[in-house]
């Protein structure tokens, strides 16, 4: 299980590193890095299944990759024997999804939004494979009610599916956090909200964002379970999520999860917002890089070798380089491929 989680975390990390590099060379105008969020996001992606709704924000590519992609299919030689999977993959073409995701990042016509929308601001649905993924709008907090609405549609249809959504600790201050969570609680919607608390919102520390001891305590005010968890520990997050998912599928309503993470990067690449983070605090985060932690754990448990870790890292990086290069070669949208404002 740890090996599986690790593989997706590695893929996620390499994904970000690639785009960070492209940002530095000017090939990309903006990048919000998810480095440091992988343990939480991959674990969350591991807790859902076909037919569940994933509603993601700007640092959740780990959940997206975990949900979209079958790692055994991507690297059949590295994972030759069947692992004891935490969850079943969705089916469908993993590599093609990865390619289209790269096109999406690069504003290409083959991206999920066909160049209309930036980065993770897209929806992707594959009804045949039970893939339901709603991306973000920029306005923070807005997706919480929308994700709860996805859960409402499951409830209306009598399905035992769940909807999960993420939120930064900064965006817990929005009215929609409150309105969405409260309605979800009253209606017992199968909804899980995961706070990725990296203790900074752009340049604003938690002390200027909220005055409570922890955000999980807000759950009490909604009459739902609230759980704090070490967001650098994917097994801990997975366990919390599995409990929450079970509860939701059983019709018992939402759960609020607060995962504590580290801030590893600036708010977006190239800004100087990391200057606001005191250096010893930053050091604490970097010393607890979830990628390092899980690799140390894998090594110490003797499941894998250092060489294996190196190989999957290189293979991940190469695969991503490949799809990004392919995406770069794809056509950009033109006014001809433009889209109507209204559905008809």
């Amino acid at each position: 299980m740890l090996r599986e989680l690790h593989a997706y975390m590695r893929l996620t990390r390499e994904w970000d590193l690639r785009y960070e590099k492209m940002f530095k060379t000017g090939a990309l105008s903006k990048w919000y890095s998810s480095v440091g969020n992988e343990a939480t996001t991959v674990a969350c992606g591991s807790a859902i299944e076909k037919g569940d709704a994933l509603v993601s924000l700007h640092r959740d590519v780990g959940a997206i990759l975990r949900h979209y992609v079958n790692i055994e299919e991507l690297f059949p030689d590295i994972f030759p024997e069947k692992m004891s999977l935490v969850r079943q993959p969705l089916g469908g073409d993993s590599r093609d999804r990865l390619f289209r995701l790269a096109c999406q990042m690069l504003g290409r016509e083959h991206g999920f939004s066909r160049g209309h929308e930036r980065s993770y601001h897209y929806n992707h649905m594959e009804p045949d494979h039970g893939l339901i993924h709603l991306g973000m709008i920029s306005h923070l907090g807005s997706m919480i009610p929308v994700a709860a609405g996805a859960a409402l549609s499951f409830q209306q249809q009598g399905l035992d599916r769940v909807s999960i959504n993420f939120i930064g600790e900064g965006a817990t201050s929005t009215g929609d956090f409150h309105e969405g969570l409260n309605i979800a609680a009253v209606w017992k919607l199968p909804f899980i909200l995961v706070i990725e608390n990296n203790h900074w919102a752009f340049s604003t520390p938690t002390s200027q964002q909220y005055a409570c001891d922890n955000l999980a305590s807000r759950a009490l005010g909604y009459g739902i379970p609230g759980v704090e968890v070490d967001g650098n520990d994917p097994l801990a997050v997975l366990e919390v999520m599995q409990t929450a998912v079970k509860r939701a599928r059983a019709g018992e309503g939402p759960t609020l999860v607060e995962a504590h993470l580290g801030r590893h990067r600036g708010h977006s690449e190239g800004d100087d917002s990391l200057n606001q983070v005191p250096s010893d605090e930053l050091k604490g985060y970097l010393d607890n890089d979830p990628m390092d932690l899980i690799e140390a754990r894998l090594l110490s448990s003797g499941v894998v070798s250092r060489a294996w870790l190196q190989e999957i890292k290189e293979r991940s990086a190469n695969l991503i380089m490949e799809v990004v290069d392919e995406a770069m070669a794809m056509p950009e949208p033109t006014p001809n491929t433009d889209r109507n404002t209204y559905a008809d």
């Binding site: 709704a53 999920f112 939004s113 209309h116 929308e117 601001h121 897209y122 929806n123 649905m125 339901i132 709603l134 991306g135 709008i137 306005h139 807005s142 919480i144 009610p145 929308v146 994700a147 709860a148 609405g149 996805a150 859960a151 409402l152 549609s153 499951f154 409830q155 209306q156 249809q157 909807s163 009215g175 929609d176 409150h178 309105e179 969405g180 409260n182 309605i183 979800a184 009253v186 209606w187 889209r339 109507n340 404002t341 209204y342 559905a343 008809d344």
Partner: protein, 332 residues
């Protein structure tokens, strides 16, 4: 060649047309669901959903907490995934609390993602009852300036019925303005009709005339019709055009009318500056200016909130006198 069509309801009250349309759609389509404050047991502030809870159950007729933003957002999510939610705002004015969800999430969703959002927001709006600054507003212009939303504002019971059903069937978010002043005052016969599954632009000539083209919607169309009677006595024939659908906008009928009348005026209850009358005047002054033989005048509410005091309020809403004077000036 008028075809004979059956009358389904005689003298149907505007408010009853709304109930009937909702009920008929809910019976026809199990994905239609209602959300709003106090709409379940109580049947809503105006009793439009009275007895719906009993017929359709508490899953399809949901009281919401007092949370307009959350409600619009939840409805949007549910709509993307196959439900057809109809939200009742207790008063149109309260949508400001859900403004972001509406204009940024619901309105832009299709363009951004090609996921359609079949959502209707019912907006009891308008003044005339001394209900003050927060229960009287006419705020259609904000939504007409928000690409992705369709906007309707029926003046007659039959249009109200048809357009509400079409709004529910339409795959886009539709802002449905229903005028509180008309609830228990307007009646018309409901004839057997086809219910289109899309809201399309319409401009209906409600009275023919050859001197001036008057454009209005909602309550103000009734005022226009009254005023046209007055003018008739002066030998002036006003063509009264009602716009039950404001977006999408179909101006072809209006342009045709102006070819005949060479004069145009617009009446609305909304405040003046950047009200939808401005858009109509702009379209006419661009596309039909060579047919005009007079200024395009707007008779509107002034740029102020709505007073609680009925006298102060009445002085603001375009009256029959104000309308007639406006027309006379255009024709002068």
């Amino acid at each position: 060649m008028p075809t004979e069509s059956k009358i389904l309801e005689e003298n149907l009250l505007y408010i009853d047309a709304l109930s009937l349309a909702l009920r008929d759609e809910m019976r026809e389509d199990p994905t239609v669901m209602l959300m709003g404050q106090d709409i379940a047991g109580h049947g809503g502030a105006f009793k439009i959903t009275r007895d719906f809870l009993e017929e359709f159950g508490d899953r399809r007729v949901r009281n919401t907490p007092i949370a307009e933003s959350g409600t619009v957002g939840i409805a949007t999510g549910a709509a993307i995934l196959g439900q057809r939610p109809v939200i009742e705002m207790q008063f149109a004015d309260f949508i400001t609390c859900g403004f972001n969800q509406l204009v940024n999430v619901a309105a832009k969703m299709y363009w951004r993602t090609e996921c359609s959002v079949p959502l209707v927001i019912r907006m009891p709006g308008g003044g005339g009852m001394g209900a003050g600054a927060f229960h009287s507003q006419n705020i259609e212009s904000w939504f007409l300036h928000s690409p992705g939303l369709k906007v309707v504002a029926p003046a007659f019971s039959d249009d109200a019925y048809r357009l509400l059903r079409s709004a529910i069937k339409d795959p886009n978010p539709v802002i449905y303005f229903e005028h509180k002043f008309l609830y228990r005052r307007e009646r018309s016969d409901l004839q057997e009709m086809q219910i289109p599954d899309r809201i399309e632009g319409e401009a209906n000539v409600r009275r023919e005339g050859h001197h001036l083209t008057s454009i209005s919607w909602g309550w103000m169309t009734h005022r226009a019709l009254e005023a046209a009677e007055v003018m008739e006595k002066e030998g002036i024939e006003i063509e009264v055009i009602d716009l039950p659908v404001l977006s999408p906008l179909d101006l072809s009928g209006i342009f045709k009318s102006i070819e005949k009348t060479e004069h145009a005026a617009i009446i609305h209850e909304a405040t003046r500056t950047a009200g939808f009358g401005a858009e109509l005047a702009a379209r006419i002054s661009d596309e039909a200016i060579w047919n005009l033989d007079g200024p395009i005048r707007r008779m509107t509410y002034p740029d102020s909130p709505s007073p609680f005091h009925k006298g102060l309020e009445a002085a603001r809403i375009p009256s029959v006198d104000v309308i007639c004077d406006g027309w006379r000036e255009v024709l002068a």
